[in-house]
Symmetry: C2
Subunit: 224 residues, 2 copies
């Protein structure tokens, strides 16, 4: 097989925070949308939204277009995650997939007009996906869990301002484990990353919780 | 231009810390190797080590092989940096370049048997490079500067153990600016990232400086 026969595709991993549908579980969790394969190979298996890269389309534009066409989602910013190119990752010849990712807020998901076939799965309870897409989502989850230590993840999921309880729920969803509320509050109190906005959560008359924001608006600071 | 005409290449950005050749300047600085283009387009211009991806070769193996053939360098670990694929980045058709990078120690550079044509340049004083390679090196430098805040960069440049002065010189080289020695010492004293090894630098009988190591050996923790 020579160099000319290599094909280039784009795919996108979306993470959204959802509480609905988890029936009684208190933890919000991460959900990810997939679309069924309409062609061989892996016909009818769930796969990441994506497609072939057209020769005249920028990588990120192709990722955004294919994502929008299948899921109705139009995140304001797609970040390049990683390029997957293992020799045997597709049974029909060498395919290099440049994978993008985005974290989206609940209202962005609610506003999307999804394609007929899109289906959301909990990110850590996935079906068997086409190609190496299980591996890709696992890699994205691992990156997300590393990021939560230093990056402004909650900004992407919650918007500009948030309560400490909301921030904790994001960290819990990303890490997949419950955090001690008092410890979390103490650790955030000494953090230089978040600051009080001086405002409180609207619609909560009795001891309304304070709103915070990140000192710098920078959802995914290192292009990683 | 259809999808079939897209070609895939690999390139590698190497950063090494060098003090020689900077004539009297105390700061060590980052240097990067380039090789001359042997074909059109951009014949004879300096370019990152790299080449076309063969259909049967893994991405990282192709990057390591082309790097070794041209520079003699064999870093123990290449990390994927980013994939560059702008529609107009090559004048002879669409090329997607998957770029890898590595930080190498001075002794790794000294031991390399370089190809005839390789030439090292200070990373922030580059000639006009082929294609978008100036942009690629700038991007790598920016990523490196973000990393120095939290990653174990000195490990890659210096090895397992190092003095505080050596650690500071790495931070200075990466950030491209002199740091206050007393402030740096104080900031490292409160860091949980580095610990004393209990040993001192050999060959320095009078008040030999203490050796430190990172708490965890993890040169580039986030695959970014």
């Amino acid at each position: 097989m020579d160099q000319e026969s290599i094909r280039v595709a784009v795919s996108t991993v979306i993470f959204a925070l959802r509480t609905e549908g988890t029936e009684g579980k208190e933890l919000p969790s991460l959900w990810t949308p997939f679309v069924p394969r309409l062609h061989e190979p892996h016909l009818n298996q769930w796969a990441l939204p994506g497609g072939w890269l057209p020769g005249e389309e920028q990588l990120e534009e192709a990722a955004a277009r294919t994502l929008g066409e299948t899921t109705g989602l139009h995140p304001s910013y797609l970040e390049q995650l990683y390029t997957f190119g293992r020799v045997d990752r597709s049974p029909t010849g060498r395919v290099i997939s440049v994978v993008y990712w985005a974290l989206v807020r609940g209202d962005e998901v609610a506003e999307a007009a999804p394609g007929e076939n899109v289906r959301w799965f909990p990110a850590d309870e996935l079906p068997e996906l086409a190609f190496d897409h299980n591996e890709i989502v696992r890699y994205a989850l691992q990156r997300l869990r590393t990021k939560v230590e230093y990056a402004h993840i909650a900004h992407s999921f919650l918007g500009e301002t948030f309560t400490l309880a909301q921030l904790r729920s994001v960290h819990e969803a990303v890490l997949g484990q419950k955090l001690d509320a008092a410890n979390f509050r103490r650790s955030m109190a000494t953090s230089t990353e978040i600051v009080e906005t001086g405002e409180v959560l609207a619609g909560t008359p009795h001891r309304p919780p304070k709103l915070y924001r990140y000192r710098q608006s920078n959802p995914l600071p290192d292009h990683s």
